[in-house]
């Protein structure tokens, strides 16, 4: 290698400092929220809590743990995530498999039908009216069905299927397997990697979503935990309508919010170190092939 010049060494130093700052700025809010969740209300009010908890106590965790509505909503989140991901996987896999068959007549039209929806959508109001008049309100289908296929995920899966060796499928077909059989017994076992990635993509996005539940769920006991948290935040800032069951809690204040934030983010933070590289490779595959 060429010997690094002096200015380059200076640049490396500055670069290190800048990137350290990026890391600190990204992590600092998490540290603060964590510290607040363990702190006393009085110490937070006084603005004493920064990086470390002051007046350490677990009272707030106890309060949240004893709130039946919190657990109810947490359970709803799990249920909605599982159901919506299952529906999304079935539909996306089927369509992606069909689209991956290059010799299929009318394939271009089928691709176009999907891709066009990336650039033009019906908009909030027609969607709202549709879901309402289909009678999906207050059911998990209001969350699962309107978001059953993400075109981005569809294209990633299609690209993966296209790269599978066709000889295997042809051989299986000659041995008497139907198309369904080929998909279930040959293609899917070969596609564990992409299936796992798609399950991750969908489940993280359904776990994180709040707006469809907020729109289509009228009852507090049907809300996912994200809407619970949203009501807590809105109630505390006086911005609007806190959910019926959370009014009392929002009086308690900042550490309740912090505890709820920590508990809602926890599952994601736990799986994050293991899943993020799948996300990265999935996004790159989608970008290159899409």
């Amino acid at each position: 290698m060429v010997k690094p010049s002096r200015s380059y060494r200076v640049f490396q130093g500055v670069n290190g400092v800048v990137l350290t700052l990026v890391v600190l700025v990204t992590l600092y809010p998490f540290a603060t929220i964590l510290a607040r969740s363990f702190s006393g209300e009085r110490q937070i009010r006084a603005g004493e809590v920064a990086l470390l908890p002051k007046g350490f106590n677990l009272t707030t965790y106890k309060i949240v743990f004893q709130d039946a509505m919190f657990w109810r909503n947490y359970g709803n989140t799990v249920l909605y995530t599982v159901v919506a991901t299952a529906v999304a996987m079935v539909l996306t896999t089927c369509y992606a498999y069909v689209l991956s068959k290059k010799q299929l007549k009318g394939r271009g039209v089928l691709v176009g039908i999907a891709v066009f929806t990336m650039f033009f959508t019906g908009g909030l109001i027609p969607n709202y009216i549709l879901v309402t008049s289909l009678g999906l309100k207050n059911s998990v289908w209001a969350i699962a069905l309107p978001n059953a296929i993400s075109v981005f995920n569809l294209l990633v899966m299609k690209a993966f299927f296209e790269n599978l060796p066709t000889e295997l499928e042809e051989a299986a077909q000659i041995d008497g397997l139907s198309t369904y059989g080929v998909l279930l017994r040959i293609v899917l076992p070969l596609s564990k990697a992409v299936v796992a990635t798609m399950v991750l993509f969908y489940s993280v996005s359904f776990w994180n979503s709040w707006f469809s539940a907020f729109l289509y769920m009228d009852r507090t006991d049907l809300m996912p935990v994200t809407v619970y948290l949203r009501n807590l935040i809105q109630g505390a800032t006086g911005g609007g309508n806190a959910g019926a069951g959370t009014e009392q809690l929002s009086q308690v204040g900042a550490n309740i919010q912090s505890v709820t934030i920590v508990l809602t983010a926890l599952p994601i933070l736990c799986v994050y170190p293991f899943v993020q590289r799948y996300f990265v490779s999935g996004v790159m595959l989608g970008a290159v092939k899409g």
């Binding site: 670069n15 069909v98 009318g106 009216i129 800032t237 983010a265």
Partner: protein, 330 residues
């Protein structure tokens, strides 16, 4: 089998030759092609039925449902409205001062987001690319992706906690003897807060594609540039940036396309009546007018206006980049 032995009725036997000539020319191959494709691949086509139903019902039906912007809609009635009213709702929103306020706010927030959130990932990717130690590079990347994985509700919650009157930001201001600022309630702070939290949440994730693009640049180009006497900056300017230009253009087009649909959910979570003067955007206004006040047709008219502008923006950005840089989405 049986059909071949059965004598055909006299009338039908004459007709085919008469029609066959024009048919065989154009239509017959296509039709039998379809018939054969259907017979051969019907199982594949059957797999597409449910997904197609999904697209039809939940994507295309709402597009057609936009006609309620020109028809009077009654709750409980047809989802396409009851009777034609022409451009009445369009005229209504064009004469509505609130509409023009939210229109301006949309342009402001969209413009600021484009201006600040688009370049940050590029700069970050260039900096990361210069890091020699792979473990360090991977660590910085993993940390900076993290906010992307959190629910927008959590991001909004964290933002509010950070900016609360007893939060760390005001704590810091206190050190300098500054009075606490009620950031969340002050209209003049909203745009800064929005763009700031957007950068925090998206900057790291945005670097992925640029880093991927950077790895595809040929090492020989750097070698050649060095031999020509280019220093580090000149190498970045003349080799690296042109190398990632297609990625930059693609992402810019996509950003321009979603320019009008500024982070609807985040605004909805972060704003409150006190900050409406700067925070209220077209989509949040549509939400309040439609879902909260039940003026569905009126809200749909505004929403359609927004969607059409979005479509026009993305097609013209695409055209422009195809003509000027030679890269385009389609």
């Amino acid at each position: 089998m049986s059909t071949s032995t059965t004598p055909a009725p006299p009338g039908t036997q004459d007709q085919p030759p008469a029609r066959a000539a024009p048919r065989r020319g154009r239509r017959t191959p296509a039709r039998t092609g379809w018939r054969r494709a259907l017979r051969r691949d019907w199982q594949l086509y059957s797999l597409a039925i449910l997904p197609l139903l999904f697209f039809l019902v939940f994507r295309y039906l709402p597009m057609i449902g936009n006609v309620i912007a020109f028809r009077r809609f009654e709750p409980g009635g047809s989802i396409f409205g009851e009777e034609w009213v022409g451009l009445r709702y369009v005229q209504m929103f064009l004469n509505d001062p609130t509409f023009w306020q939210v229109f301006r706010n949309t342009l402001w927030i969209g413009g600021l987001t484009l201006l600040f959130c688009f370049p940050v990932p590029i700069v970050l990717a260039l900096l990361l690319n210069e890091v020699r130690r792979r473990s360090l590079k991977r660590f910085v990347q993993s940390v900076s992706y993290l906010p992307h994985f959190l629910s927008i509700v959590i991001v909004a919650g964290i933002t509010m906690q950070m900016l609360a009157s007893d939060g760390p930001v005001n704590h810091l201001l206190g050190w300098f003897g500054h009075e606490p600022v009620r950031f969340i309630q002050e209209p003049e702070w909203f745009r800064t807060i929005y763009v700031g939290s957007e950068i925090w949440q998206t900057a790291g994730w945005g670097t992925i594609l640029y880093l991927a693009a950077l790895t595809t640049i040929d090492e020989d180009l750097y070698e050649a540039a060095r031999i020509d006497g280019a220093n580090r900056w000149q190498q970045i300017w003349h080799v690296t940036l042109p190398g990632i230009r297609p990625t930059m253009v693609t992402l810019l087009i996509l950003n321009i396309g979603t320019f009008m649909a500024v982070g609807f959910e985040k605004v909805l979570l972060l704003y409150n009546p006190l900050t409406y003067p700067t925070a209220d955007v077209i989509s949040t206004y549509v939400y309040r007018a439609g879902v909260e006040s039940n003026s569905f047709s009126y809200a749909a008219a505004i929403g359609l206006f927004e969607a059409v502008i979005g479509l026009v923006l993305i097609t013209s950005a695409n055209q422009l980049s195809r003509r000027t840089v030679g890269t385009s989405l389609w």
